[in-house]
């Protein structure tokens, strides 16, 4: 019995220490972070688009956390200043990401605000970025003989357009693009925003 108590007691102490430093202390330290003045809550279309970003697994190739100039040339690539905890006030779940198979998207809305570009790029990335290895998402679009009223037609380079008919964005594609262009964290930070 004595051995079991030492074993489980010790194991509990170890996981408690790990949880304290990586979960509990950050919880209390970050609990009172306020949103910067320039950051706006997501609209419902943007939130649906954010969900689509998760559904398609964009996070596995795109980060949302530019690093500091002193560490890496993220800013020179147009990915923006180093992010701070306050920038993520409205983010749930977090989408910081761990891979840059594609570029960081924290400021993609500032870098590429064109809805047309994003829709076409989602339909066929290689039509816009030669050599890209991003998946195409044809199922977020519909090929119709001709556009109907209210349809959002996707403009494509002729060699990538279907032989017949037009490519129309489905609601999921429109939501996803409205989320992508909302990713703009180029607003200035107040000293209080850079806190912990």
């Amino acid at each position: 019995m004595r051995n079991e108590i030492r074993l489980f007691g010790g194991a509990l102490a170890m996981i408690a220490a790990a949880t304290a430093v990586l979960v509990v202390v950050p919880y209390f330290q970050l609990r009172d972070v306020k949103p910067p003045a320039g950051l706006h809550p997501y609209t419902s279309a943007q939130l649906r688009g954010r969900q689509e970003y998760i559904r398609q697994g964009c996070i596995y190739c795109h980060s949302q956390q530019p690093r500091d100039r002193a560490q890496a040339p993220d800013a020179e690539r147009g990915w923006g200043r180093a992010s701070v905890a306050a920038d993520y006030f409205y983010d749930s779940p977090h989408l910081l990401g761990t891979m840059r198979t594609g570029p960081d998207l924290f400021n993609i809305g500032a870098r590429q605000p064109s809805l047309d570009w994003h829709l076409g790029h989602l339909y066929q990335p290689r039509a816009f970025v030669p050599g890209s290895i991003m998946p195409s998402f044809p199922y977020l679009f519909e090929v119709k003989p001709k556009a109907e009223p209210g349809d959002r037609v996707v403009t494509l380079p002729p060699s990538f357009a279907p032989a017949q008919g037009v490519v129309v964005a489905r609601p999921a594609a429109l939501d996803l693009v409205s989320y992508l262009v909302s990713l703009d964290h180029t607003y200035p930070l107040a000293p209080s925003d850079t806190g912990p």
Binding site: I15, L22, P26, A82, S92, S132, P135, P196
Partner: protein, 546 residues
């Protein structure tokens, strides 16, 4: 309030506490060094090799090698072997269920991984199927191999080792079987959710929490046989494998539950929690299950207790302490508190302590016995897996250093590192364990020894191609990305040949898994040459005449 002022003393105090704790164990445990390590052998068993996976000619050669090292040894005691045969029987059904499911998930997970890999260099392949898009099939791969294959292989081997380690039949088997049902149900529902796009969005925790509760309940149920068998143990001393298994089964439900509490985690705190979980599911679950297997099977095959029992316990507690706090190194350069990243880097460096303890012990135990690898399939896998544990841990330490991390973070190098750990270390070790236990579980030998060799070489060459190619590709990718003068697309293009090589390596690994699964099926359905006599001792009534 400066967190460093609080954390630095807290860190020093915890180091002192850890030292005192290990010292207190030392008084109780390190004293009878030899006795502790001998617990897994019966009275006259040291000097007898046990290797059920080898054909009889190899077993004889193995025993000769052991004899050459140990000199004389006494004949085995029938009563003790009979007792162990009963112990083995008690766990047979539970082990069989877990291992069969594990292999099913391994095959599914391998094809999912291969599909994801190919898609990275043929991005328009199968692009019309939403559930096969890279973001989903990659996630299905991770969850199938981590929670399907690795977890259930680990559970199966743990359930099989427990009655032997505690010298009593496995208790509470129904709970383990119910746990297996819930775990599989949760995983089927979870993988289905992922295919349909229902994901939590958190890496390693993608399965929606409502479904994940099944894994918590299943994991907790699998812990019941452990507690009940511990209560009925007839050994005085708890062998180091028991420590690893117990801790792993105890830690997993806690980790998974805390990570999945809805509505608590937010913003950047959720990111630190995410990597507290993501790294601890490795360090607190998969790693200890694999180490439990190494510490049991390695000495059994060579008939020799591990060299230093004290070192193995030192390794256990320092690993439990340091590994738990390294998760922040996934967020170096991120928008998280600086102290947290610094702490995780420090603990990543401290991981050298348990790794060196393990490596020393391992090399000292196998000293003079390396030739046994020629004859023992189990040991070939386990010895290789152990070396890979040392490599992956040391690599992890260096990857956590800021200068190295700046290059490797966000690149395929990390993916190669993950496979060095979860595949080259954990999976290879479990393959070895399964080759050892299955002849005991079904009381029949592996029908085609050559298939074991085919499996070994396919997965070993495959994983070397995979890991080496992807490490090179990832490193080049990181260098290209750090050079602001080069366009981003350079960092993509430079990886393509290495991604293609990764698919070749992955295809070889998958082929190896198919060989393994086919051999497993042939064995359990009694196909192929009948070698009915289980290695070294017979079971049941026969034992009296042996």
């Amino acid at each position: 309030m400066n967190p460093v002022v609080i954390l630095l003393p807290a860190f020093l105090i915890s180091l002192v506490a850890l030292a005192v704790f290990i010292w207190s164990m030392h008084r109780g445990v390190f004293g009878h060094d030899a006795a502790g390590a001998r617990v897994i052998f019966t009275e006259h068993e040291v000097g007898h090799s046990e290797e059920p996976a080898a054909p009889s000619a190899s077993r004889a050669a193995l025993q000769n090698l052991v004899n050459a090292n140990i000199g004389h040894h006494e004949p085995l005691d029938d009563d003790e072997l009979l007792q162990r045969a009963h112990a083995d029987r008690s766990s047979a059904t539970v082990t069989f269920v877990f291992l069969s499911c594990a292999i099913g998930w391994l095959i599914l997970g391998s094809f999912a991984g291969l599909t994801a890999s190919i898609k990275l260099h043929y991005p328009d392949w199968l692009a019309g199927y939403e559930w096969l898009t890279f973001g989903r099939i990659r996630t299905i791969h991770l969850n199938a191999v981590a929670y399907g294959w690795t977890s259930m292989a680990g559970f199966g081997l743990a359930m099989w080792m427990l009655p032997r380690l505690l010298k009593t039949p496995l208790q509470g088997r129904r709970f383990a079987l119910l746990g297996a049902v819930l775990w599989n149900a949760g995983l089927i529902a979870g993988i289905g959710s992922l295919a349909a796009g229902m994901s939590s969005g958190l890496e390693w925790l993608e399965i929606p929490w409502q479904v994940g509760l099944l894994l918590v309940a299943g994991g907790a149920l699998i812990g019941i046989p452990l507690l009940r068998t511990l209560a009925r143990r007839t050994v005085d001393h708890l062998y180091v494998s028991v420590w690893y298994v117990s801790a792993a089964l105890f830690w997993f439900p806690i980790l998974y539950l805390v990570a999945n509490i809805p509505g608590v985690h937010f913003g950047v705190e959720q990111a630190t929690m995410n990597w507290w979980y993501g790294h601890n599911v490795l360090g607190y679950f998969f790693t200890p299950l694999a180490q439990a297997s190494i510490y049991y099977f390695l000495p059994k095959v060579i008939g020799r207790p591990i060299q230093s029992y004290g070192l193995s316990l030192l390794g256990f507690w320092t690993q439990a302490f340091f590994y738990g706090q390294v998760g922040g190194h996934h967020l170096i350069g991120g928008p998280v508190p600086t102290w947290l990243v610094t702490l995780s880097i420090v603990q990543s460096v401290m991981m050298i302590v348990p790794v060196v303890a393990f490596a020393t012990n391992y090399a000292a135990t196998l000293k003079g016995y390396w030739r046994t690898l020629l004859y023992s399939p189990t040991l070939r896998f386990i010895a290789l897996g152990s070396i890979m544990y040392v490599l992956v841990s040391l690599q992890g330490t260096f990857e956590a250093l800021r200068s190295v991390n700046t290059i490797t973070h966000f690149t395929h190098f990390t993916v190669a590192h993950a496979h060095l750990g979860m595949y080259a270390f954990v999976t290879i070790t479990f393959f070895g364990g399964i080759y050892f236990v299955m002849p005991r579980v079904v009381e029949r030998e592996w029908p085609y020894p050559r298939l074991i060799a085919a499996h070994f070489w396919l997965v070993v060459i495959g994983m070397l191609v995979y890991i080496v190619a992807l490490s090179i590709g990832g490193w080049l990718q990181g260098l290209a990305m750090l050079d602001a003068a080069r366009p981003f697309m350079d960092s993509v293009k430079v990886t393509i040949p290495w991604l293609e090589a990764r698919s070749v390596g992955g295809a070889m690994m998958t082929a190896g898994h198919l060989v393994f699964a086919a051999h497993f099926l042939a064995m359990v359905s009694a196909l192929g040459p009948q070698r009915t006599r289980p290695a070294r001792f017979r079971i049941g009534t026969e034992v009296n005449h042996a």
